[in-house]
Chain length 378, copies 2
């Protein structure tokens, strides 16, 4: 069997051997043990979002949705926004644009607030827009835009969205599990993330943490059968089963991944490792002469975009292929404005893996005759 | 680690240890090896559908879609039927009703042709309806209705649908890979199945075999982003990658499952084993006094519905729980008219597994004091 490569991407990521080993069983989707596993996953996800209160009540619900993270987001957008609603999408990267695109496919009236890709969305700008466009009923933002790795201020934005009386939707795909989020204090109504990101499961489903009152309002609003968020929740609540076949193996892996996240100290513990990864990466890459795209104060520990080195000898495809042959998978860029490539620092990776990548990168650059940061000789 | 139970269900099913072992790797979703694996899966699925011609051209395309089988069906229904189209759904069970339900969610004008659950859909009845309702543009039918295990005559129906000039959609979820299908001779335009049925992969995605000319007509018609069949195909064709994160592990398992299907002699070889399973089951169950729901000539080797035994001592929940504790998972009924339970005979199961189930069933009935086929003493 071919070896597993190290994945320096925004996902799917490397997972632990024990997470993968949890998939070595076939469970029936209506089996009691599977139903219990799903119930525990949902409860643990709610706790990760801080969705509990001292008196034992909880304002939030957890819904699991088959498919990729995008399916989860489309489930929320196409279920939560009513036919007379209007969505404002805050955009500073490709994933914000995707939300606006899917809303338009569903015929949802949509406005965008566009921010340059190297700047965070400004809560003040959101407040101004909400004051000007008083018919906006829903606001959506991406927490960590993996286009650049920038992290938007979801708490500050949440406060102004709440002041305007709008429903607040946060795409926390690449951040949840590593960047601590408190649903209540960030005034989040719907948060979406997926199995194969910072919780370090395998791909196969997304999950939604939803304020119960807003979820209940979504009843009968959905524009699809498969992605009907309220119906999916009602099904899980009624007998603990999915309406349609769940990815049983991916759910078993995810349950194990949640236990391992807890063992690492939860999101705070995981953030410590990811931050160490990114610090090692940034140090080594800048030493080699690479220039990060974002200003240091805007850079997260999730993924880092680096500008292409100057000079004709650099070829990203060449770099990618050589590194891949050595067992390291890096990621292409997705910026609209300038050529970059990206290196993720999440998943089952530690600083020694970063050191190995940096050594390989150095060797490949030497073979290519590229010295980042130095202008071509002629 | 708890043991794997034997799953006598319509899916998810038992898979081989080698299929599960193929998931013990993390591949990047843009990695060359993964892209090659996806390409080979698509080519093999087309060949399974007989979609090739002597001169090397092929009229069909294969699209993989994240999510359960229902997601794949919704992808076809919500992408293929245009806004002025009208869908006729041929219904003799729960899965036909589900297709009509999803079409209505999308606002698609829908007629149904309802056949009793213990009868096959009649091609003549379809012809009559198509002659009466000349505005029908699309016809959908379920190949094997797992509600009962009945197999509808998709070739005969295909001929009358073609005569009427309508587009023909076949839900072959529970049959594809075990009941041989020839796309061209059955005049199928869209066939849908999923990873975790007779090909014996793990759940996580569905696949669609589509006549290229009809797939191209679906461009821009989709009512969703995630389930846009044409866009999904165009993405896979352009660079071999999924538009949105694929279930990489489930795809690796599926590739291995396709190799194992070929090693078993393809659908014909697999049908031989499944038929032996069902023959052993039917023989043992009728010997115990159980009465199958379908007439013998309508019964398939996929799944069998049995009527509840008479008398007050029988409890399906009790039977289910006791068998589950012994390591055997059977399946509840889904009939609208009378209480039945179901036993599937597909997946990584052989006649000795059926014998073991029958022995366990006999012991449980004895413990329950139930003698099927014998009326209660008072």
């Amino acid at each position: 069997m071919a070896e597993t490569k190290l994945l320096f991407t925004p996902g799917p990521l490397n997972t632990s051997a024990t997470v993968k080993a949890a998939m070595m069983r076939d469970l029936g989707s209506r089996d009691g043990e599977f139903v219990m596993t799903v119930r525990e996953i949902r409860a643990r996800l709610l706790r990760l979002g801080g969705a509990r209160s001292a008196d034992g009540t909880c304002e939030y619900e957890c819904v699991l949705m088959q498919g990729s993270g995008t399916f989860g987001i489309e489930s929320v957008i196409s279920s939560a926004v009513h036919s007379e609603g209007k969505l404002l999408v805050l955009i500073n990267g490709a994933y914000g644009r995707r939300i606006a695109q899917m809303a338009r496919v569903h015929g949802i009236e949509t406005e965008t607030l566009d921010t340059p890709e190297n700047r965070k969305v400004s809560a003040n700008a959101v407040a101004e827009r909400l004051a000007a466009s008083t018919d906006i009923s829903h606001v959506a933002v991406v927490h960590c835009e993996t286009t650049t790795g920038i992290v938007n201020p979801i708490e500050g934005i949440g406060a102004v969205v709440e002041d305007a009386g709008a429903v607040y939707i946060v795409d926390a795909m690449s951040s949840f599990g590593a960047i601590p989020v408190d649903l209540s204090s960030a005034r989040i109504d719907f948060l979406i993330s997926s199995a194969n990101k910072c919780i370090q499961g395998v791909p196969g489903f997304a999950f939604v943490l939803a304020r119960r009152s807003k979820l209940l309002e979504a009843r009968g609003r959905a524009r699809t059968l498969s992605l009907d968020l309220h119906a999916q929740w009602a099904g899980l609540e009624s007998d603990g089963q999915f309406r349609f076949t769940p990815p049983t193996h991916a759910l078993l892996a995810f349950h194990q991944a949640l236990l391992e996240l807890e063992a690492e100290g939860g999101p705070a513990g995981r953030a410590t490792r990811y931050r160490a990864n990114q610090t090692a990466l940034m140090s080594g890459m800048t030493e080699m002469g690479f220039e990060p795209y974002l200003a240091p104060e805007d850079q997260s520990f999730i993924i880092t975009a680096f500008r292409y080195p100057r000079g004709p000898r650099f070829s990203f495809d060449n770099l990618y292929q050589r590194l891949s042959q050595m067992g390291f998978i890096i990621y292409p860029g997705k910026l609209t404005t300038e050529p970059c490539f990206r290196i993720g620092t999440i998943g089952h990776l530690s600083p020694p893996d970063i050191t190995a990548l940096l050594e390989a990168m150095g060797r490949v650059l030497e073979e290519m005759g590229v010295t980042p940061g130095v202008r071509a000789a002629h």
